[in-house]
């Protein structure tokens, strides 16, 4: 029987949750790296026991951990993230130039084909790659240096490169997203990049044709249809049918179109999930009700999923990297909250139950479906 392994990054350590394919009884291991912020953990698609974790601390900086046994044991690998050349400046919150400074790794994305190759999205925004299992890191500096970098500005949480999508049908195509710069795409394995933000709108950007400056919170794709992308923008849920060349809004009947995560059902490319949040000034669900919204039509028409989720007095948030799906026949959907709960649905969102309730604030969730 298949097995599910959930990798949970929290403000105070990492946790690994495991279950058989029924997804009813869960074992919880952790905290790993207790007391450290774990922004993200992820396993290699070609070697699921090869895991990478981003461990960081305001005091002691960045550490990258690697496991070769599915998270039972870990070893620190390379933590030297040095920008290529003279880093120059980006734009600070007040519009003044600010030097590029490495702070932490927000997201680790292992290669689809090689367990020793892994990408790291960092704050201040840049993309790094290791081809030796995380020992050494090189910046793909064509992104930061392609021309608009000096106009990128941090979002409220910092200027992080938070999303890395590897296109399974075009090995040299990668999408990334940065708060608050936008989406960028390379078609030549990271040498050159283009902003892909046409159609996005922001009340803070008067120029309707602005190339960059958008606070993209998350993008997602279905691996069977990688030219279709879904986006949770700061406000607005968006869709692209042309690999990011243009975007249109699909917020439809959502109660609010502000939020952070967005994900796609494992077997239905037009079934997508978001968690509406009241506003950018109030980072909690509307009316104190935690509701996942599902669209089975690729957007515009949304239904609230509430069964098993708290429908009163709930004021948690769900962060951008804290939702994931498994690939069992009945698709499992999972998300973690800033209140430390990890919720699971084994039936594509119809019914939910907490796996754990009292972890530290959850920053990220990744799910592995194991044979």
């Amino acid at each position: 029987m298949s097995k599910i392994r959930i990798l949970v990054g929290t403000r105070k350590g990492a946790f690994v949750l495991t279950s058989d394919g029924k997804r009813e009884q869960w074992d919880v291991s952790g905290p790993h790296f207790g007391g450290w912020e774990i922004y993200h953990l992820k396993g290699s698609p070609v070697d699921p026991n090869r895991l990478y974790a981003s461990q960081s601390s305001g005091w002691f900086g960045q550490v990258i951990q690697r496991s070769n046994d599915g998270g039972k044991t870990w070893e620190p690998v390379g933590n030297k993230f040095v920008y290529d050349g003279v880093p120059g400046t980006h734009m600070w919150y007040d519009g003044t130039p600010h030097p590029w400074e490495f702070k932490r790794v927000w997201h680790l994305e292992p290669s689809l084909t090689d367990p020793d190759t892994v990408y790291a999205g960092v704050e201040d925004a840049a993309l790094f790659r290791s081809t030796d299992g995380g020992q050494n890191w090189q910046e793909l500096s064509g992104l930061r240096g392609h021309g608009t970098g000096s106009r990128w500005q941090p979002g409220a949480g910092g200027m992080g490169l938070h999303t890395i999508l590897l296109d399974p049908s075009h090995p040299e195509r990668v999408f990334i997203a940065i708060s608050a710069a936008g989406v960028f795409r390379t078609d030549d394995a990271g040498k050159t990049w283009r902003p892909m933000n046409r159609g996005l709108k922001s009340q803070y950007i008067p120029d309707p044709n602005a190339e960059v400056g958008f606070c993209v919170h998350r993008i997602a794709m279905h691996r069977s249809r990688p030219s279709v992308l879904f986006m949770q923008l700061h406000w607005d849920v968006m869709r692209s049918d042309d690999a990011g060349d243009s975007w249109h809004e699909i917020s439809g009947n959502l109660p609010t179109d502000f939020g952070f995560p967005i994900d796609v059902h494992a077997h239905e490319p037009d079934t997508i999930y978001v968690v509406p949040i009241k506003s950018d000034s109030e980072h909690y669900p509307p009316d104190g009700k935690l509701r996942v919204y599902r669209s089975r039509t690729g957007g515009d028409e949304w239904e609230a999923l509430t069964n098993g989720l708290p429908q009163r007095d709930c004021y948690v948030n769900v962060l951008r990297d804290a939702m994931a799906v498994d690939s069992l026949d009945s698709c499992g959907v999972y998300f973690g909250t800033t209140g430390g709960q990890v919720y699971a649905s084994a039936d594509a969102g119809d019914h939910w139950a907490p796996i754990v309730r009292d972890l530290p604030a959850v920053v990220s969730i990744e799910v592995q479906t194991l044979p």
Partner: protein, 98 residues
């Protein structure tokens, strides 16, 4: 032998218990002690001082003999008591408030 006391998280990272004892060649300074520390425990590279600039990280402090040495020059001699192993060199995660 130079004695170094690391904060909890760095002891965990380096997988050591209690004090670290280091052989330091030449003058005993912050730089020579930290060089010896990082040579013994490469996992600590970048956690006490920046990889490139070699500057002390902003929220890390150095103490010895009841003195705050955080702002001393990296090549200034450490107190004789540290150099002779009578007193430890402390790496501390800065704490604000009480």
């Amino acid at each position: 032998m130079i004695r170094v006391i690391l904060p909890f998280h760095l002891r965990t990272l380096a997988r050591v218990d209690g004090e670290v004892e280091l052989d330091v060649e030449g003058p005993v300074t912050q730089r020579s002690v930290l060089n010896a520390l990082e040579a013994r425990y490469p996992v600590l590279c970048g956690t006490v001082r920046d990889h490139v600039t070699q500057q002390r990280r902003g929220f890390v402090r150095f103490f010895a003999c009841e003195q705050d040495l955080s702002h001393e020059l990296p090549d200034a001699p450490l107190p004789d008591a540290v150099a002779m192993g009578a007193e430890p060199f402390l790496v501390v995660g800065a704490i604000a408030g009480g």
